[in-house]
Symmetry: C2
Subunit: 231 residues, 2 copies
DNA sequence: CGTGAAGTTGAGTCCGCTCAAACTGCGTGG
DNA sequence: CCACGCAGTTTGAGCGGACTCAACTTCACG
């Protein structure tokens, strides 16, 4: 424990990393075991408390973060206080793909989380011997862009019912097992701010979807789809 | 998509590139003159006719394109035919930052244009000696992401009037000289599909903005802002 | 249980949509 | 040179989906 500032961080160690749940999705997958140990010396894990911001709108950020556990909302504010959620991060997702003087959104933990931090200075060094790292960042950037465009289509062209269904289905598709039940890690207000709807509209829309049979059960943050095809 | 596919391409030559208007924004800026000549052997310019697609939604793309002249709309379609424009490209902008099996939008020329094509296989080779190339792609990807988020906020939280003003102002801010007049390279329908509005609403909103004095003149594709602060 | 936050439901309004008609600029041919 | 046609754009009238404001219910937690 050197300085107080860093006490939220823990030095990583190779055995911990070997057990990492998101190792294959991370840039670590580019490295062999010996290199992992090198990396472990400068890389750091950091727990994030629920509601706390990992990076803040307008502030400098010089590190790449990879979500090991938990989930985050990416928030942008208009001058008058209106709030738009531009995305969510889940296990395995990246934040801060490039160092920046002024990051354009705040990332707030929706639940207690754990992230892995890689200073970009370190990544630049590593990528001399491992060009795959930059490619991995580029590829990830591409999928982020893809998600953003999907979001743009949702906001620009879809009705309230379509927005809600698209959102719920995208969450369901994250499950490896095809389970018909999903558990939201975010509040109704967060979902509404993501979908460009008022929360009353979201609530009403969920009620309509349930009444119509598209959803079997809506109770708080647990939502069950109607598995049976029709009627 | 024809047998004449490649005849639209011209081999580049270093003297042409030396005069390039977007050279400083392009990856070419990473290279010295000798290397430019190397590059010129495999790189190609391509004119694009108005209305023609450079890459199409769902189709494979293995090249990076840089817009040398003209402008493009990036279009996504829903199954039922609804159309959302997810962005516009102008001189100096990049398309196809990563090779992909299925590109997620169509890029259509708004006017006769000229692009510069770099196969990613070539870029991978070049970037061994010039790591700056990958960094440039990453940085550009970041600004694309920034624009996408701005667009998400616009669609999710802004009113029709705010959307139109934001859009027009973003175009004005592109001008190096601070000119109060802008010339749109896209139709009303394109603007409406970008802003998530019906074209009638866009037309009415422009009328309101003019009546209110935010805009001094709206005649077809030429729009003049009200430079004087108030009255 | 009591308290507050989160979520649902209700009633009425309004912004942006729909359908429809008129206008404008521009190329084409008589 | 004007008539014509057409695509792009503007304007009009009425409607409806999402919003606003407000009351109520449910849930988490002490």
């Amino acid at each position: 424990m050197s300085e107080a500032h860093d006490c939220a961080f823990q030095r990583a160690n190779a055995s911990f990393c070997a057990l990492c749940k998101v190792r294959e999705q991370s840039i670590c997958a580019e490295l062999d075991l010996g290199e992992m140990e090198d990396l472990a010396k400068t890389m750091a894990h950091r727990p994030v408390k629920e509601g706390k911001a990992l990076i803040a709108e307008g502030e400098e950020n010089d590190s790449l973060y990879i979500v090991v556990d938990g989930s985050f909302r990416l928030v942008r504010h208009l001058v008058d206080g209106r709030r738009q959620i531009v995305g969510f991060l889940f296990r395995g997702d990246y934040l801060g793909m490039q160092p920046t003087e002024s990051s354009f959104h705040t990332a707030e933990a929706l639940e207690p989380g754990l992230v892995c931090r890689f200073p970009h200075s370190l990544l630049d060094e590593l990528s001399v011997r491992h060009p795959g790292i930059k490619n991995r960042l580029l590829a990830r950037g591409q999928t982020e862009m893809h998600k953003a465009e999907e979001h743009i289509v949702l906001l620009g062209k879809k009705t309230a019912e379509e927005r809600v269904m698209s959102f719920l289905e995208s969450l369901r598709d994250k499950n490896e097992a095809d389970d018909d039940t999903i558990f939201l890690s975010m509040s109704r207000q967060d979902v509404a701010d993501y979908l460009g709807l008022r929360l009353e509209t979201l609530s009403r829309t969920l009620a309509v979807l349930k009444k119509r049979g598209d959803l079997q059960e809506v109770s708080g943050r647990r939502i069950t789809f109607n598995g049976s095809a029709s009627d």
